[in-house]
């Protein structure tokens, strides 16, 4: 356990990764703790702020980039993973982290999630799941239970089964899949550090209660439990085990060894040579 206990250099602190902007999240929101986990992870890794880019779409958790002191891109709803993929592919020298919620990631951005998993670009996606659309006042999200009847939009409940993000990530080929809980930001920090260090696309599903629209999620504290298995590098084994999980198991499910996608880009021709091909 003491292997990581090294003598301190005057390294950065989590505070160094926070901007001056005060979060607008409801007090009590799980995202405050996730942000704490994120900045602790960044400090632990000693990421250079100017060489780190955080990308998001739209939603409560997608506000995170402006709350950090790194480069950020707060894009449009659902497209965070595509923006981040383009950025990382064009600038492989940067550390790229993506933040968002369950609606942004699995509904409007669902197709990008699917393809980000299979494309396996070397970046880390932290998706904060509160099973509700918060910014638009509490509608059912793709991870909401089918019989949740608190939304005016679906007064009888959404009536469809929720997406299981971890299963989906495994099915689509994500290379690193883990689940954390906002109530334990230090563990969230560990998962983020592991995810960033792991080559390829890392998905970290973080249960993060919405105290305003899903106050009953305050009980998640006693629902979550350690996943109880060692991480595997075999996606099939991970999937079999995850199918038995109740959705509240915390830990690393898969640390796979697929090669990240990164087109090579060494120039071999000048434009003048290329355009010679058009000469009659």
């Amino acid at each position: 356990m003491d292997t990581h206990l090294t003598e301190a250099a005057a390294g950065p602190t989590p505070q160094d990764y926070k901007s001056d902007v005060k979060p607008i999240w409801c007090p009590g929101c799980g995202d405050y703790s996730v942000l704490a986990g994120i900045t602790r992870a960044m400090a632990t890794m000693g990421l250079e702020r100017h060489n780190t880019a955080v990308v998001s779409g739209i939603g409560c958790s997608s506000r995170i980039p402006a709350y950090t002191s790194c480069y950020g891109y707060h894009a449009v709803h659902g497209r965070a993973l595509a923006v981040a993929s383009g950025l990382k592919l064009a600038r492989p020298d940067l550390a790229v982290l993506v933040f968002g919620g369950d609606g942004d990631g699995f509904s409007i951005g669902g197709n990008h999630f699917l393809h980000a998993c299979r494309r396996n670009v070397d970046m880390t996606y932290i998706v904060m799941d509160n099973q509700v659309y918060g910014m638009t006042k509490g509608q059912a999200s793709p991870t909401t239970e089918s019989d949740w009847c608190e939304s005016k939009l679906t007064p009888e409940g959404p009536g469809v089964n929720p997406i299981q993000p971890v299963q989906l990530a495994l099915a689509c080929g994500a290379n690193f899949v883990a689940r954390g809980f906002s109530g334990n930001p230090n563990e969230v920090a560990r998962l983020i550090v592991e995810g960033v260090k792991h080559p390829g696309f890392s998905v970290i599903h973080v249960l993060s209660p919405c105290v305003t629209f899903r106050p009953e999620q305050r009980t998640w504290k006693s629902t979550v439990h350690p996943y109880g298995r060692e991480p595997t590098d075999d996606p099939n084994e991970a999937m079999r085990a995850v199918l038995e999980d109740d959705g509240f198991g915390l830990g690393i499910f898969l640390a796979g060894n697929r090669r990240p996608f990164q087109p090579a880009s060494a120039a071999s021709r000048t434009i003048a040579q290329i355009e010679e091909g058009f000469a009659v």
């Binding site: 301190a8 007090p27 009590g28 405050y32 986990g37 305003t212």
Partner: protein
């Protein structure tokens, strides 16, 4: 409650690393809660959290002073700190207890829990450690936390629990982006 053998009990360096983390996290958390209350126009509680942060900063500075006298403190990853009964640093008030309409009573109740946990942590280390210097420091810090607990308790007497309905808000939640 049975406590496990704590990293922080192992030697003075690790103990001070834990103490620094505990005190800094406590102060920063109060600051963050104050910011959050300010963002939600709850000035009274914001001021209270700001005051609590001030006390914590003072205590953190004292610990820092002790640490500086001791020499370099080892760097510990966030998840490698061992707090006997809490997942986060024990004196960091829980974000999840906050509410935008919360009253000073609630804030002080949060503080009481935090300070009590801080006291418990130091007391546990003092009981567990085999290092006499760690035991001496832990006892001193536990004593200081006990004073904080007393102080907050006294403070809390001035703010009895509000009546039911303190969280009533006639307006529906806002729609943002």
């Amino acid at each position: 409650m049975k406590t496990k053998v704590l990293n922080g009990a192992a030697n003075v360096g690790l103990f001070l690393a834990h103490a620094l983390e505990l005190e800094n996290e406590a102060a920063e958390r109060y600051e963050e809660l104050a910011d959050s209350m300010e963002a939600h126009n709850n000035v009274e509680v914001a001021t209270l959290f700001r005051d609590l942060a001030g006390y914590s900063r003072k205590h953190a500075a004292e610990v820092k002073q002790v640490a500086a006298e001791h020499g370099p403190v080892p760097k510990v990853a966030p998840w490698e700190f061992q707090w006997d009964s809490t997942t986060e640093s024990p004196e960091a008030a829980g974000f999840e207890h906050a509410h935008y309409l919360m009253k000073p009573h609630h804030a002080l109740t949060m503080a009481l829990l935090s300070e009590t946990q801080g006291n418990t942590y130091y007391a546990s280390v003092a009981a567990e450690t085999k290092d006499p210097e760690v035991a001496r420091l832990a006892r001193a810090f536990a004593e200081e936390e006990a004073q904080h607990v007393t102080l907050v308790r006294k403070w809390l007497e001035r703010y009895p629990a509000p009546k039911d309905g303190w969280d009533d808000d006639p307006d529906p939640p806002n729609i943002s982006d």
